[in-house]
């Protein structure tokens, strides 16, 4: 069975600083995608960044970047220059080709931005 673990229930960071959210996963599959989603208090899930497992290069999206370590099954999210609008729940998810493209989700990390 596939699992996704986010070991940090809550993280806080000073505005303008950098924070890293951790995510580990377990799968025996070789083809998969990894995602970070953000869920603000409005409850609407928003895709932050996506990584294809077959790509060695880490994905980046403006202030958001990932550190993808395939052998270690680790997929951390780095947020640079944190902004108040980054405050939200962050969820890591894995999508497997052989599972109807369902997403398996971690339990989430609550990110608090201190002004």
């Amino acid at each position: 069975a596939q699992t996704v673990t986010q070991s940090q229930p809550e993280m806080s960071v000073q505005e303008a600083e950098t924070v890293t959210l951790s995510c580990t996963y377990d799968t025996s599959e070789s083809d998969y995608y990894l995602f970070w989603y953000k869920q603000p208090p409005s409850r609407q899930m928003i895709l932050v960044i996506r990584q294809e497992a077959y790509k060695q290069q880490n994905a980046t999206e403006n202030r958001f970047s990932v550190n993808f370590q395939k052998a270690a099954k680790s997929f951390s999210l780095k947020i640079s220059d944190s902004q108040l609008g980054d405050a939200a729940m962050y969820f890591c998810a894995i999508g497997l080709m052989d599972s109807n493209y369902q997403l398996i989700w971690g339990a989430g990390t609550k990110l608090i931005i201190k002004p």
Binding site: Q44, Y101, Q102, W105, A107
Partner: protein
């Protein structure tokens, strides 16, 4: 353009009653997903529709749960004889097609409270 919409936003019902939750996906999206999010948890896959194909119901937790999608567009999730453990946020998502890298776009969810 309009995003995924869900109604009602909040629903309080008595144990044993039936409820219907509605999802209106983005126009043109052929894939539609239902997820359940319990407090402090990640998302749990419930059911998936793709075009005119038979839905993937593998995530439905019991036969009290059912869903349909009419005309390849609007979907209704029905929970019969609700139980307190059904209390959760029910999220709907749609995407252009099955699979990756098609992004799933989420609605704001329906918060269901069973008293």
């Amino acid at each position: 353009g309009a995003g995924v919409s869900q109604s009602p936003s909040n629903k309080v019902t008595e144990k044993g009653k039936d409820v219907e939750l509605r999802c209106d996906p983005i126009s043109g999206h052929t894939a539609l997903y239902w997820y359940r999010q319990s407090l402090g948890q990640g998302l749990e896959f419930l059911i998936y529709f793709q075009g005119n194909s038979a839905p993937d119901k593998s995530g439905l937790p019991s036969d009290r749960f059912s869903a349909e999608r009419t005309g390849g567009s609007v979907s209704t999730l029905t929970i019969q004889r609700t139980q307190q453990e059904d209390s959760a946020v029910y999220l709907c998502a749609s995407s252009f097609s099955r699979g990756f890298p098609y992004e799933q776009y989420f609605g704001p969810g329906t918060r269901l409270t069973v008293t």
